[in-house]
Symmetry: C2
Subunit: 460 residues, 2 copies
């Protein structure tokens, strides 16, 4: 028995230990090495080797929370005391723990801005830092970028399927905990959601928050029409009524009694397509041509596509579970790999060759190319210090130098959202389909290919 | 452009707005109603209607974080100012916002303790409170219980598949953000994981933390044997070496040079079953019969079952992505439904009948029955105030009264873990298989059945 309830929340004061244990054991080893000077740096890149099935591209997201972590990462006295008490550190130099107390992330970070559409093997984040620092941060960066990129990529599909209709994140109750819901809300917004039902996420992000009422509200009245009247009295200018608690058609007819200030009706069950058509007719018949129809209930990009293809007159989609868990592909396999070691002027590119797992060597840049009409044509992954290819736009930009944030680190959600919208607008036709899309148009640049050839010779 | 990085973390100070907007609009409506006395209470139950495919049962988890939320739930001045500024509340009585500032959850909570194996339609949590209070907390309770129950239920399958072997949570980097990773670590521990790689979760929960080294560590040395020697020097009593960076067989032979203090070798790629057999032979040949073999790399319950069935001499499994995202079933459809309204002595049971969505009426208890040999035979869901069936053990117990925590609320992780282990030990044979298991053995008690019959008559 205990007298404490552990809320198990992650705070900024927890960043030091927000990692896998092996990152800290490796860090202690690196620090203790005679063969590494304190100037020895390393470059790691975070990327996705292969697109999950059902994704023609990904939408980069999670950088802002990653940078906040790198900036605020500290080991508290309590953290250090905890580590000291672990038996694995029984033989570790006590100076290591002193060093942890003074630990700061002092590296350089380059990254692809959030909202950018990205392809396999493109580094989303590149970290250049003393080896021990670069190693420690792997777990948190992966968790943060994997999660938001996963949801933003799913949300972009819902955005495309919804065409010009409104699409709102309704998923808080089904996310992997409420903290995950907040990240999902942010990622969905970047990829084009029109709002969320999640109040605290909306407040922190400064984005629209939306909601109507639940079946329990309707059922708390003796009669449906009393519930409708009460809701309208409370929210005369925002009256959207849930009409499927008893009989949807009857509910719709009852809702029309509200008159022209009825902003919308919501359908949450049954054959949404047919019900939307029937309700549209009922509303129009009552002269309520401006009243909108909102639909929700296990929706995803495929169901929305089918509804719209069938002419369902739905104006707004509430999307929950499928969006916030990326249900068809609930994990993104982003990895964080060493691509170069360096000690002073000595730079050693690192390459890994394993079955189906290639890590391209050296610090890299991604160049995006467009056709004359502005359509995204292809990307080239090239060594960062190779000459810029003609007509390419570099995607990675510097966001941190020596641990200090650069102006580019302070990106706005509006900019991220515009970036994603522009990416979707300029998608090549081959990547536009939700299924049966083309292979990702990404190539390896000549300098990178030559380096890889050379290194393969030494590895085999 | 902005000058702020939003870490987007969930703190205890955020609990007030950690909900869907419609809960707050409904709350304001309830409060404003002339037909509801302040004594009017409601009972809601949180349950899962149907088991996800691939789950013969669920493992209840997430109650502790739910209770911490109910205890600490407040609206700050900042929260209230934010809500006041939303246009939807433009017509809302200003007294509502004053009322929010004084808001406390004052309800009664009964719940099935964490670690208990549960079945469809069994209330995991029952909330009896003034309607406005009970409504507000829906979203957070669902997010919290859905998430941890999801992961604990997956982890129980991994626990069963791993038989007596060690199984460790390695999933932080692939969870839906680091905060979700912490919840996954807790849920996996309750269901029988032997430890985690997640340091801050281990610290907060007081559970074992484990780890070895990554490929980047090995690759930071010129030669693999130098990396092995350095790791052993740093961690002489905890030396587990990752041996698959270059050639696994050669790596294993090199690792034997460490001698008897080599605690283990880890395999993270390739044909884990064959490599484990080969490495066992190499280790045994060098006299290192006590050195353990750890395997990791996209493992799940099915792969572990196949490896062990094939006689793979693996002593410990590291399980990541599949565990922390419950990859085959990444969402749990827990719902929170009104089952009774009451004003003073007037109690009105509420039932919902919709296609495939029945809500059984009235506050309920679950009675668990065992065979003479201690095997779990079946459960009976019955009205809470009906006579106790002979030989049944009630699963729901009181944890909060009038907003105050009861001693039963302070459950320990050890107790939860023992409860789950006991549940798995006494599983009926029909629920023991990972696939092709029996239907859930859960029945409706006579008093509940009679009430439902009566209500159906009034609904149809």
């Amino acid at each position: 028995m205990t007298d404490h309830l552990e809320p198990l929340l992650l705070g900024e004061g927890d960043y030091g230990l927000a990692t896998d244990l092996y990152q800290i054991t490796m860090m202690a080893s690196y620090r203790a090495r005679a063969d590494l000077s304190p100037q020895a740096t390393s470059t790691f890149e975070l990327f996705v080797r292969r697109l999950p099935k059902g994704r023609a591209f990904l939408v980069a997201a999670g950088l802002e929370q990653s940078l906040a972590y790198l900036r605020d990462l500290r080991f508290s006295d309590e953290d250090v005391a905890y580590l000291k008490g672990l038996s694995v550190f029984g033989s570790t130099d006590p100076a290591f723990f002193e060093w942890l107390r003074a630990f700061r992330f002092e590296g350089d970070v380059d990254a692809i801005p959030e909202g950018t559409l990205v392809l396999p093997n493109e580094p989303l984040v590149r970290i250049h830092a003393p080896l021990a620092q670069a190693q420690l941060v792997e777990t948190f960066l992966l968790a943060t970028i994997n999660a938001q990129t996963l949801i933003a990529s799913k949300a972009a599909r819902v955005r495309m399927a919804s065409q010009g209709r409104t699409f709102v994140d309704f998923g808080a109750r089904r996310a992997h905990g409420f903290a995950a819901a907040m990240l999902a809300t942010r990622a969905a917004w970047i990829a084009g959601a029109d709002g969320t039902s999640n109040v605290v996420a909306a407040k922190k992000l400064g984005i629209p928050v939306l909601g109507t009422a639940a079946h329990a509200f309707i059922m708390s009245f003796e009669r449906e029409q009393d519930a409708f009247r009460a809701y309208h009295e409370g929210y005369p200018d925002h009256c959207v009524l849930l009409i499927d608690t008893y009989d949807t058609h009857e509910g719709c007819r009852r809702a029309t009694a509200i008159g022209p200030s009825l902003k919308g009706v919501r359908l949450d069950s049954g054959d949404l397509g047919q019900l939307a058509k029937d309700c549209r007719a009922i509303l129009d018949g009552a002269g309520l041509t401006a009243t909108r129809i909102v639909a929700s209930g296990d929706l995803n990009e495929d169901k929305i596509t089918a509804l719209l293809a069938d002419g369902a007159p739905i104006d707004s989609f509430g999307v929950g579970t499928e969006l916030v868990t990326s249900r068809d592909q609930p994990a993104l396999g982003g990895v964080y790999k060493l691509v170069e070691r360096a000690d002073g002027d000595t730079r050693i590119p690192v390459m890994k060759l394993a079955e189906g797992k290639i890590t391209w060597p050296g610090p890299k840049q991604v160049w995006r190319h467009h056709d004359a009409d502005g359509t995204w044509s292809h990307d080239v992954i090239e060594l960062a210090d190779a000459p810029a290819p003609a007509d390419g736009v570099p995607l990675l930009r510097p966001v941190m130098r020596g641990g200090a944030l650069l102006p580019e680190a302070f990106d706005s959600l509006d900019a991220m959202r515009a970036r994603c919208a522009e990416g979707l607008r300029t998608l090549p036709n081959g990547l536009r389909a939700l299924h049966d899309y083309a292979e990702p148009p990404v190539r390896i640049g000549p300098a990178l290919a030559a380096m890889a050839e050379e290194l393969k010779g030494t590895l085999t």
